[in-house]
Amino acid sequence: MTLAILSGKGGTGKTTVAASLAVALEQAQYVDCDVEEPNGALLLSPRIAFSEPVEVLVPTVDPDRCNGCGSCATACRYHAIAVVRRKPILFPTICHHCGACRIACPTRAISEIPRRIGVVEGDAEGRFLQGRMDIGEPIPIPILRELKRRMARDRTVLLDCPPGASCAVVQSISDVDACLLVTEPTPFGLHDLAIAVGLVRKMGIPFGVVVNKAIEGETELATYCRKEGIPILLEIPYSRAIAERYSRGLLPVHGDEAWIHRFRTLYDDLQKQVLEDGAAAFRTAPKPGSADPGRAEA
C-alpha cells in the first residue's frame, strides 16, 4: 500500500507521523516529498548512499538561427522568455520545461539543455528516499515526479507530503492508495483540515485523520470529524515532553514499544477500515441528510 501523509496546515506533525510509521513498520519505505523543507532525515538518520541531481530541460537559443521574431515569447505562458530588440532573453528559473518555445520557433533556433533544480537522495536498503530543492528555485514538481518514479513497488511506501493544497500536494498524492491527514485541535488546524479533506475527496482517495497535540474533552475538531464521517485513527497528546524530544530529533516511537504498537495499529486500522470496510464511505462527502456514519473506531 502507498500511503500519503498530509495536512494542509504546516507544522501539524506530518513528519512525526510519517517517520514514526517508518520506524514502526520495519520494511516500509519512507519518502520525503516536502522537497522545500525536508526533515525526515533528521528524525530517521538514514545512511545516504546516493545523491543524484534532478535536472529539467530549459531552452537555449542559437543566435545564428534566431531571427528575433518573438514566437517563443508569445508561446511561453510563463513569461520565461522575452524578446527585446529582436534578442531573446531567458528566465530559466520560471521556465516550466514544457518545450512550447521550441515547438513555436520557426527557424529551429531553440534547443533544450539540462539545468539542475535539486537532488534526490536515498539509502542503499531502499528504506529512505528524499528530494531537496535548491535555494531560489520556485518549482518542486519535477523533483516530486522523480521521487515517484524511484519509489519502491514491492513494499509499503510512506509519502511525507509538503504542506498546503496546491499542485505540489496533488502531484505527491496522485495514485496513492490512502491518505492520513494530520491535524491539531485549534481553529487553524480545523480550518486547514477541511481544505485537505476537500482535496482528498476531490481526488477520490480514502483517508483517515491523526490528531496531534490532542487535548482532553470534546473539541470542534472531533465534532467536525464525526459529522463528516471521518475516522480519527490516532491521537498524539499535547505534551511538552513530546515537543522537547522532537526538538532533539526523537520520535514518540524511539525506544517506546507502546508507541510502536500504536503506530502499527494505526497502519492496520487504516488498511482495514479505510481500504476494506469503509472505502466507499470515505471517498465521497456524505450526502446532506444522510445518516451520520459515526466514528469509525467506535
Binding site: 507544522g11 518545450g99 530543492m133 531560489g136 520556485p138 504542506p163 499542485c167 526538538s247 530529533g249
Partner: protein, 293 residues
Amino acid sequence: MKEIVFISGKGGTGKSTVVATLSRLVDGKCLADCDVEAPNLHLLVPGERIRQEDFYGADVAVLDPERCFRCGVCRDVCRFDAISANAEGGIRIDPLACEGCGACALVCPTEAIALRPVKTGEIALDRTEYGLFAHARLEIGAEGSGRLVTEVRKQLHAAADGEEWALVDGSPGIGCVVIASITGADGVVAVCEPTLSGQADLERVVAVARHFQVPAFVCINKVDLNPAISRDIEQWCTEGGIPVVGRIPFEPAIVEALRRFETPVEAGLDPIVREIAAMWNQVKEAVGESPAP
C-alpha cells in the same frame, strides 16, 4: 509603505499568531495573508468584506472532440502526462495534471485544442478593526499559487491609503509562494522553533531571503523548548549578521487563547505581548519608517 513579511520555512511555527498579535499593537498598518493554500489570519482578524473577486491565474487545455481526429501528437508533446488516449484512441486531457503550457495546442493540426483560463482562487479585501486586510484562497489543488500571492500583494498596495506598514503573513516552504511573498518586500521576519528540523528549515528560508536580497530577521518561538538549539540558532544568526529580534517563551496558554479565537493581547498574556512588541520595535528601527506620504 514598507512591507514586512513573516515567513517560517517550516510550517506551524507561529507566524499567524505573531502577525495577529501585531495587528493589535501596530498603528498605521494594513494586513495581508499570503498563505493562500491554508490561510488562517482571517480567523483572528474578522472584518467587513469590501470586495471579493475570482482570480483566473492559470490556463487549462480543452479539447474539442468534434475537431479532434485522434492523431495523438498532442499526447506526444505533453511533458506533464496530462493527455491520454483510451482504447479507441479517444484523447482525454486531465485538468489536474495539465499545467496550461499550450504545447499541445501549438502542435494540433486541426486546432482542436484551446487554452481556457481557469479560476485558481478568490481574493478578498476586508475592512477590519485592525486595518485593511487582503487575503485569498487558492482553489483546492490549483496551479499558479505564486500568481495569486502576487495579486494579493498588488491589491493591498492598490487599496492602501497612506498606511506606513504592511504586515504580511507568509507561507511555509521556500518555493514559488514564498518567493512571490517576499520579492520586493522591505524585510522578512523568519519565525522559527528551536528544534533540529526548525533550525534546518530556518537556514534554508533565510538563504532564500538573501538570494532575493530582502533583509532578514529571526524570531525564535518557544525559545526555552530546547535552550541548546536556541543558542545554536543565535550563534548562526550572529555569524551571518542576521538580527535575532524576538525570543518568545513556550506558553501553552497561547494555544488555549487561539481556541477561543483570541490573540495573546485579548488573552492578557502580557509577557508574550511585551516580547512581540519589543520584536516589532527592533524591526521597525532597522527597516526605518517610511517618509510621510
